[in-house]
Each structure stands twice: as structure tokens, then as C-alpha cells.
Symmetry: C2
Amino acid sequence: MPKFFVGRESIDGDRALITGDDAGHIVRVLRKSPGDEIILCDGEGRDYHCRVLSIDGGVLCEITGSFESSSEPDVDVGVFLAFTKGERLELAIQKCVELGAAALYPFPSARCVARYGPAELVKKAERWQRIADEASKQSMRARPPAVRPLSSFEDMLEGALKYSRRVILYEMEKDMPLREAIGGDFGSIALITGPEGGFEEKEIEAARKAAITPVTIGKRILRAETAPICALAAVMYQTGNLGG
Amino acid sequence: MPKFFVGRESIDGDRALITGDDAGHIVRVLRKSPGDEIILCDGEGRDYHCRVLSIDGGVLCEITGSFESSSEPDVDVGVFLAFTKGERLELAIQKCVELGAAALYPFPSARCVARYGPAELVKKAERWQRIADEASKQSMRARPPAVRPLSSFEDMLEGALKYSRRVILYEMEKDMPLREAIGGDFGSIALITGPEGGFEEKEIEAARKAAITPVTIGKRILRAETAPICALAAVMYQTGNLGG
């Protein structure tokens, strides 16, 4: 049954009224007509099973049942993303939210080209959170993950500590594949990825001392924004949360 | 050792001279200086192990050895992408090339919003191939994968036949997870993904008749451009080609 996001304001008692572009999508793209069933999702943790009543002047539905959303993964992944140039970080945030990241932590590292003063970082944080909120709704997440920028590499090391497993993607690492580092059971994992120029060796040494495992994700060189998406897809696949 | 793409014209006998932005990146971002070692990759299948000789007026290197590139995955994945709105398809092509797709086949399906006449498709094909070439170089692929647009859904079904395993991502599929469909050994796989509105039921029926397996990649709804990237990451992870 097609699942479709609507704002909470579209739902009133046992009725839902969807207007505008959303209604157009349901009628013209999904080709729904009276009698058809759809699931509406309010982006705040609930799914509504509905039957379409009419499609004139918006799509009017009868709500036949409402349920706690089951779309959240059963693994708690925190993705720590080194600052990359504007659009790249935004793309990584959007895709990581779609894939089910529980929290996102942008942070500065030595080779970051993008650098932000405190005031600028506050503004950026708002923008990143909006992107996460939007992606969360679009992908029917039960609730949007928080984006929490960190102001130093050391804060990143400390923030990662609250995750039971911790890996840092490092292109110079040859011996420890991601698969080996994420085998077995774990409840939570910190996934740490670098900027365009990669991490410096001394950063990796500091990570090692903080009990974070440097890992490789293979022989091809992935762009800074592609690496976290792929590593997260691998973690979700490994834990049965991506077609598993 | 950092691996770095350069055009073939930078290489002359046992010397390589890198100028412009690339030289700036090596000196200022990677902080290489005379005596340091780097690997240059020509995007045509060869890697060159080099020692930096000087960094004035471009980075001059001595080539100490050259090797057949080992960056290609050992699985042949053809990614069949339904037309999606401009930027989305371009992003999917870029990321699938980074991840190691062997060939990309954009194709039309019933709910595609994006539609192209024959002349427009030829122009689009050129643009998509340029994007693939660029991504191939950036990710140090041995050689760029071909982008071959198909003009009908039926051509897609036929094109998929040359792959030994064939899956189509379908959001209504609940019983067959991607993991089950891609378990065991296989030499080649066709990965087929839909447009923004998903596939129609009759398209899935036609795919089934063509011995293509409908699969689910989980409970979250991925955008049209995110699904192929994540499914390909899963295939690469499964086959030991992504940190495996």
C-alpha cells in the first residue's frame, strides 16, 4: 500500500484532507481514486491507514486505523561528518537521514576547507536541521534525527564515546575492513568520516587512543559525501535494516 | 599512500608534471613536499608510483613503477535507472560510478515524470556519459563505465537478461529482502530501480515474467536517487567490494 507523508494539520479526527501538490501526486501520479487504500504518515511517529472517499477539491480520506510508525531501524547509528564544502555536507545529511541515522554530528578536522566561526555555525546548524527534518518527513521516519555540530575534533572524539562501537573511515587503512569492525552484535555505533583531503595521520592516532577503530571501505576512492552514505548503507545492510 | 588522478598528458616517460589546481591540491591540501611518495592514476587503467622531486612551478615527480590498476570490483553490476528528474538521475549516475557499477542504463517507465524524445535523449546521453567519465576519474576507476540509455521498459527487460542475477526494487514487495536475493555466488547482477512514483504493478508483473526478482530494501522510503546508491552499496558490501 503506498505510504504518503502529510502534515499533521491534514488530519482531523477520523478524516484526513490532503490538498495542493500532495493531492495532485496521489491522484495523478499514484492514480488513486475513491475506495483505494493508502497510508498517511505524519512525520511525528504515527501512520494512518486510510480509504479514499473523494478526490474533488483535495483528497478526502477516512482514517480506518492509526499505528505507531515502524519505520525506525533497530540500530542506533551516530554519523560524525567532517565539514565538507556546503552542498556536499547537505547531501550527506539528507541521505544519512533517509538511511536511518539516529543523529548527525558535523565537526571540523585539520584538512577541512570549509571552516565556520561560532555565529556562522549556529546559522549552518539551523539549515542542516531543516534539511534533516525535510528528509525525515520525506522518508517517513518516525521523527527527525538531531543535527548537532561539534566545535572541535576533540569534541568529536568525546562524542563518539557514548556509542558502543566506533569506527573512523581512513583511506590509508588497509588491514581492517569495515565488515570486520562491524561484525557481531552491537546496539550503537559511531561512524566517523573525513573531509575532502582525508584525515591527517595524527588525527587517526588520536582516534586510535580514544578506542576508535580506523577502517577501510575498499579500493575505490569515494568522495567525501559518498563515503558516509555508503558506510551507513553497509551498516544498515549488515544489521538487517536495509533489505535484510 | 595518497592516490591522485592526473590526465595522461601529465605523464612523460619516467617523469610526471602536475600543474594548476591539481598541483595546488597536492602541495597545500595533501602537504606533499620533495621526497614524499604518491600514486598517480591516469583513469585509463594504470597506476604510477611516484616520488616528488620538486614543487616549484608545478609538482614534478619521478615515476618509480607503473601497475595495472586494481581498483575495479570483482562483480559485474549493471544498474538500470528509471528516468528521474534531471539532477537526481545525474547524482545517481555519479555515485553509482564511484561505487563501482560496470554499466548504467537509464530507461523510461510508466510513472516517470521526466520523458525524452529521441533527439533529447541523445543529448542527455552525452551529458550522462560525461558525468560518468568525471566520476570515474575522480574515484580512480580503471576505466569509465558506459552509460547506455534504453528507449523502452521492454528494452530494459531484455537488457537485464544478460546478467546472471536480476533484481528490481519494489516498495510494495514485503517478502523478499535484497539480502536473500543476492546471497550466494554470482558473477553479474542487474539492479533495477524506479522513478519518483515507483513502478506500476503491471511493470512488476512483466519483470517477474522476465525472471527478474522484485525485492525490498527495507521500511524507510528512499528517494528515487537514493535507492540505487544504497542497493549498489549493499551489493558491493555483500560481495566484499566495499570494506569487505
